[in-house]
């Protein structure tokens, strides 16, 4: 099998070397890139990232990467968002004010504190290994989202580190996680758009399995 060309978007937000290492582990031809042509010529996109939402969106716009990514996704190229990269796929976030996201999935990003009434009790960031539970969806997922959901473990935990989380539409919510009684979208997606709040590249074998499945789908 020819190894797929994966564009790991390099927009100056966080530890992207780990994502490349994880794809390299499976012999994929992963490219850390901020070149719109590379995005266009790739078989699939990984959008990593940590940090604040508006910094992430600004960084994508400043490096002229937003339009090429949106156009690739519109042309049905698979995209896999991780942590902040996953949150950016949504309509908007309320981190440091209200900011628009890419709008590829229905839902918004809010503080985990605001998801619960007795909010003072919750310690943030949520730095934990948590299991995820498949969501009950009205419409079954299709495409890459369906394929990657099938690689999720319902027993083994994944590594999370975040203070904001997504409240996604039923259609976009593939699996949920629960931190101290606060439930949020852990795995999201629809068709060729997929994302995880946790870091699959830091979640041992069970995390690598999802990345492997993504590479196989390309």
């Amino acid at each position: 099998m020819k190894s797929p060309r994966v564009a790991v978007i390099d927009y100056g937000v966080g530890n992207i070397r780990s994502v490349k290492n994880a794809t390299n582990f499976f012999g994929a031809d992963a490219l850390l890139t901020s070149d719109p042509m590379e995005i266009k010529n790739s078989d699939g996109i990984i959008l990593p990232g940590v940090g604040a939402f508006h910094f992430g969106m600004q960084a994508l716009e400043k490096s002229s990467l937003l339009a090429p990514i949106l156009s690739a996704v519109a042309n049905r190229k698979p995209i896999f968002g991780i942590c902040l990269g996953m949150q950016l796929l949504f309509e908007r976030s309320y981190e440091f004010g209200q900011h628009d996201g890419m709008g590829l999935l229905e839902g918004e990003v809010i503080s985990l504190k605001e998801m619960r009434s007795d909010a003072d009790e919750i310690i943030l960031p949520n730095v934990n290994w948590l299991t995820v539970k498949s969501a009950t969806q009205k419409d079954r997922p299709t495409g890459v989202a369906k394929l990657l959901s099938s690689s999720l473990s319902n027993k083994e935990p994944y590594y999370f580190v975040h203070s904001f989380g997504v409240k996604a539409s039923n259609k976009a919510t593939l699996a949920l996680a629960n931190y101290n009684g606060v439930e949020f979208g852990a795995v999201v997606g629809n068709d060729n758009v997929f994302g995880t709040q946790f870091h699959p590249e830091k979640s041992s074998g069970q995390g690598l399995k999802i990345i492997h499945k993504f590479l196989q789908s390309l």
């Binding site: 966080g14 290492n21 940590v50 940090g51 310690i123 730095v127 934990n128 975040h162």
Partner: protein, 245 residues
């Protein structure tokens, strides 16, 4: 509760002492990191134990190699003094950095790192030693006194914007006689950040004693794992049974 293995490194060897003294070589950092990863460790901490002395971190080449094969979070500390040092550590593949000495010299560094890379990548570190009825903050791998009180200092670090706090008891470190529960209780009572408790783990009984006081976000373990007294699996199974986690 996460189980973290702590590897203290000097000249490319993992070393271990008692109360940060009498350091002995115990193995190769890469081989040990990979071994703990294969045993399902939740996270790995790498500390350059002599870096503050030489004013630089010498672990980046180890980090670069480790992250090719170890797919759990990696936390790197020792001698990181500027935003540029932190940038280098993250570029080498670290997920988080540990800051102690540099913050004592200039607390502003915490805010500078947080605004550039996010609070989630800063672990503030406190090395505490008991003196009469109070605990004093030490720097430079337990070598230098600061005159700072641990509780006041932990609050300063939190306000400055750390994402997690690594609390190590110098008195119990390497002794395997258990965590300093009074110290843990004191810090935890005022802390609203994830706490990593280190210094003194010997047997699963130390976990039971700790859980009777509080459940921290993580425990950091060195000697007991390095000397093969117990496996990662045994520790994690014990916690799972105890907490139903």
């Amino acid at each position: 509760m996460r189980v973290i293995s702590r590897l203290d490194i000097k000249n490319d060897f993992v070393i271990k002492g008692v109360q940060f003294e009498g350091l002995k070589k115990v193995g190769s950092p890469l081989a040990m990191a990979e071994d703990y990863y294969n045993q399902s460790i939740d996270e790995i901490v790498l500390i350059d134990s002599v870096a503050s002395l030489y004013e630089r971190n010498n672990l980046f080449h180890i980090v670069e190699k480790a992250v090719e094969r170890v797919f759990v979070p990696l936390c790197v500390g020792g001698g990181l003094r500027s935003v540029s040092d932190v940038n280098d550590a993250l570029n080498a593949g670290a997920d988080k950095v540990i800051i102690n000495t540099a913050a004592v010299k200039n607390i502003d560094i915490i805010e500078q790192i947080a605004s550039r890379f996010g609070a989630q990548c800063i672990v503030g570190s406190i090395e505490a030693k008991k003196r009469n009825d109070i605990w004093e903050v030490y720097t430079d791998y337990g070598r230098e006194k600061t005159g700072l009180d641990v509780l006041t200092w932990s609050q300063k670090l939190t306000e400055a914007g750390i994402g997690e706090l690594l609390l190590t008891s110098i008195d119990n470190e390497g002794t395997k006689r258990g965590f300093d529960l009074e110290l843990v209780h004191l810090i935890n009572s005022k802390l609203n950040k994830p706490l990593i408790v280190g210094g003194g783990f010997g047997t699963t009984a130390c976990i039971d004693a700790l859980l009777s006081v509080m459940t921290p976000s993580a425990v950091a373990i060195a000697s007991a794992l390095h000397y093969g007294d117990i496996s990662v699996r045994e520790i994690k199974n014990h916690i799972r049974l105890k907490k139903g986690l």
